[in-house]
Symmetry: C2
Subunit: 243 residues, 2 copies
Amino acid sequence: MAKTAAILVIGNELLSGKIRDENVPYIAKELFALGVELKRVIFCQDEVDVIVSDLNALRAAHDVVFTTGGVGPTHDDLTLLAVAQAFGQKVVRSTEIERMVRKHFGDGTTEGHLRMAEVPEGATLVRSGEMPWPTVSIENVYVFPGVPQILHLKFPLLRDRLRADMPFVSRSLYTKADEFELADLLDAVAAAHPKVVIGSYLAWDAPDYAVKLTFDGTDEAAVNAALDHVRDGIVEGKVVRVE
Amino acid sequence: MAKTAAILVIGNELLSGKIRDENVPYIAKELFALGVELKRVIFCQDEVDVIVSDLNALRAAHDVVFTTGGVGPTHDDLTLLAVAQAFGQKVVRSTEIERMVRKHFGDGTTEGHLRMAEVPEGATLVRSGEMPWPTVSIENVYVFPGVPQILHLKFPLLRDRLRADMPFVSRSLYTKADEFELADLLDAVAAAHPKVVIGSYLAWDAPDYAVKLTFDGTDEAAVNAALDHVRDGIVEGKVVRVE
């Protein structure tokens, strides 16, 4: 069984169309490269009860869960409170983060700044030398900010602990055949190679092909066999290239 | 109570990072302009049981639900089958769409082409003169393809039936104050104006302000009062502009 993951994207601003999510595509690509199967993403509003309920459902059903957004000092930043509630924990002030906050803001340190040191009791802080501000983690949940630039600094530190034992093998076939011509062949190949996930994507704007087919799985021989099965079944001259 | 909506985004290709979703930002902006509150988005895999379960939960809890993706002739296009199952209906061939398919493909019409005419029994077809290919709808669910260019042709036809009685009023305030300075003020304003949704967004790259604050609601006087309350509370000279 592949290692599985889910993302809980927290924030009214994404649901009202004010801000466009940039984090799901980034995390999705990272996880695929690590061999982790992202099975589910939920975008929810900034409401503690909703976050708690979604997080509890996702963490029970997946090996690892990421939250993005809702981390900060203002009234709509409810993620850490909700994560704590989901685990039946209180929010406490991390002495380690408090020390960092006081060092950073010096004599100007305010109660607002110190809200950044609040974490669920029992949380782990994931950090490295290059990225001193830690990522809060509790059991199989990792809490990320919504700002993509900060997430991009923090996520790579987790790669080693997330990487699955068996990476995905992914191959692609580009063809001039359309999806109608391919449908019966793909039905047969999908049935004959149950360990391979076969995707079929209409190319709306591509100059030289009509459909991109993808073949993903952890068994390289099976992935190659499924691709060869499709290549052999497509009318001569309609395979543009294979990657 | 505002009219509420949810989106179910269907497709392995988005979860594996192969394709980036373009439809949620588009639909989110459209709904906000129509006064419809998008409360929830789920990205799920191409699995009938999962789609059925998610769709049934979403349509019970929201006034309107949109699905995107999984519509087409290949093995991974399972949305219409799942929508039918969610409503306890069979998939049947629409005589109207069949006629359009046969007209379009002529003597070359295949069984594969005719799969495009399959709809849940009891479905409604939403169309207009300019966009002859209809959108399949059943009760409060609308089924859209994943290809953004097609969705952009189809969605505008629904505007009139989706529009809420009371549109959202949305205003913004840009400030040089940081979120730490603003936190207590925003707590107080949010408590004093419960009908207004106040958002606070860190500007990572903006040249002339640190934080954008947004004020949304259906009561224009309340939105303006909340904005004025914040403007009066910010240290002189730190309000950059108001929109």
